[in-house]
Amino acid sequence: MYTEISLDNLRVKKLPHIWCAGCGNGIVLSAILRAIERSKIDKDKIVFVSGIGCAGRSSGYVNFNTLHTLHGRPLAFATGIKLANPDLQVIVATGDGDLAAIGGNHFIHAAKRNIDLSVIVFNNFVYGMTGGQLSPTTPEDSFTTTTPYGHIEEPMNISYLAIAAGATYVARETIGNPLMLEKYILNGLLHKGFSLIEAVSSCVTEFGRRNNLGDPAEYVKFLKDKSIPFSKVNSVESHDGIVVGEFVNIEKPEFVTSYYELVKKVAK
């Protein structure tokens, strides 16, 4: 099944976007927009919140209530929005640095609260916007502008962290499989609670170029070839490649609902 992106969901006048030729972010954004279309959520009720970075620029191109926040803070702003007005459907678009480095604390606590936010992290293994520095998800041994001799740390596993922190919907997929990515995002949108969809994207210009992945199509093929279905390994982590699939999909009390149930009890 193929869903058309409704042009009403895009701010066509704001195009072309700032992303480089060959960037994977367009694939992620189109998966988000298709998922929104399929979810049938009232567009006026959608608040699309983003942080700072290449991924963060996505909020400017989509035709909802949009908020381009500060580096690392989209989840903080989103928490305020959702708690102040629970009728709004709050979607967060963020980068791996934005979410897991400078915004790591908000990430852990938003997941722990199980607040009803749908978070899509564009994981491109690198700081794209600032020109290719190391990010929390940069793979060991790879080259970035601040690891010119190769990276000595193991990368952070964002999905694993989300699960540990208490997220109730967690899935990972690469831009090599956009239809599954769309499906997971849709599931996340419909899920009541904190959902984290790790969209493994590409950054040809800043990451690929320095790591033998300079060709956009080769890069996507690489991500696809490296993908290992969750059902095969039954683990979110594998040293042989990128584990993809739906990792967690459970029901737990949601923060905003619980809060207003409490309010009902104490309100005078």
Binding site: K43, L67, G80, A84, A267
Partner: protein, 369 residues
């Protein structure tokens, strides 16, 4: 009308609820914590939302988000937390989101002395963020005034689409006084757009303060901390940037008549003008009465609006008078006074945890004669 004994922090909490505050996000820090605790009790009672965030970066973000849905939102903090909030305050200033930030000052720098008062955040309230933008900062000097002034803080914030810094200190926040909790205050509600949705410009430069739609009402506008044009979308055009920067200044500075609040005490015949604010102004009043007993004509100028200042008011008051500034820091507001009065200003300040006492003020003035 009820008479009650309460602390300054409690008065701020009760006043905030009456001023329409329905959202509070905060992170505990002495001496502001009891304000958050009070809000956690009061807000659910009126159907509002309280959340203890993971840090102050989260708190300031959450109140900005809440405000964009139309909720009047507040946070409370002190020195170290106030420092962490600066980036968010800059965001709210630039994207013109109404919020109220209470800073109950304690001794700094750094962790300082958490339980003792200071006035060390006066310049941070004005210049804590990067970039140029005006801000409104208010500072009460009693429990009753804390109650009254929090209404003003919300009203200014909503009317001018600007963060208002409500400065207090450990003494004003924690001391108890008997006050009347009255319902006589006028509460200002945010101006909403009346144009068709397609024509809405969230940063319309035909207004000094453009109306602000709530997220979720169909306007679908964009908010960013990047320099933006009238539509709210990023621009790097110097002409458009200039237009925005100019309007941000004008919308506040053209309204000093309303925004600049102050008190004078026995200034009519005074030869000596004391400038002090917050808790120190209380000591100054005592000292002035003592000095007058000794035949010295001393008066007080107490800015309630700390930022922006009124050059006209201060210049007039300072002319033909010796000017003394007393503050609980090593020289902050005194720079503003010197800038404005353009003559020698005598200064006495300390930030060691002790209040500046009436006796210190008295002896300082007597010694200088």
């Amino acid at each position: 009308m009820k008479e009650r004994l309460m602390s300054g922090n409690e008065a701020v909490a009760i006043g905030a609820i009456k001023a329409g505050c329905r959202f509070f996000a905060g992170y505990p820090i002495t001496p502001s914590t009891d304000l958050a605790e009070r809000m956690s009790k009061l807000l659910p009672e009126v159907g509002g939302a309280f959340i203890q965030m993971e840090d102050e970066l989260g708190s300031i973000g959450a109140i900005i988000g809440a405000s964009l849905t139309g909720s009047k939102a507040m946070t409370a903090t002190s020195g170290p937390g106030f420092s962490l909030m600066q980036e968010g305050i800059g965001f709210a200033s630039f994207s013109e989101i109404p919020i109220v930030v209470v800073d109950v000052q304690r001794v700094g720098p750094s962790t300082g002395i958490p339980t003792y008062p200071s006035q060390g955040d006066i310049m941070q309230a004005r210049w804590g963020t990067h970039g140029s933008h005006p801000i409104i900062a208010l500072y009460p000097s009693s429990v009753k005034e804390s109650y009254d002034l929090i209404f003003t803080a919300f009203n200014f914030s909503e009317k001018y689409r600007v963060p208002v810094i409500f400065i207090s200190d450990e003494v004003i926040g924690h001391m108890r006084e008997k006050i009347t909790v009255d319902d006589s205050h006028v509460v200002f509600e945010r101006k909403k757009p009346e144009v068709p949705k397609e024509d809405y410009l969230p940063f319309d430069s035909r207004y000094e303060v453009p109306p602000l739609a709530n997220f979720g009402e169909g306007y679908r506008f964009h908010v960013t901390g990047l320099t933006h044009d009238e539509t709210g979308f990023p621009t790097s055009d110097p002409v458009k940037a200039e237009r925005l920067m100019e309007r941000l200044q004008r919308k506040i500075l053209n309204h000093l008549d309303e925004i600049f609040l102050y008190e004078t005490f026995l200034v009519e015949d005074a030869d000596i003008l004391i400038v002090s604010y917050g808790v120190v102004a209380r000591s100054a009043k005592e000292a002035i009465l003592e000095l007058r007993e000794k035949g010295l004509k001393v008066g007080l100028f107490r800015p309630i609006t700390i930022w922006p200042s009124s050059e006209k008011v201060l210049k007039d008051l300072a002319s033909n008078r010796r000017v003394f500034v007393f503050e609980m820091n090593l020289g902050q507001y005194v720079h503003e006074v010197e800038r404005i009065v353009k003559k020698k200003v005598e200064f006495y300040g300390k930030e060691n945890g002790e209040i500046i006492s009436p006796e210190e003020i008295e002896s300082c003035i007597l010694k200088s004669l």
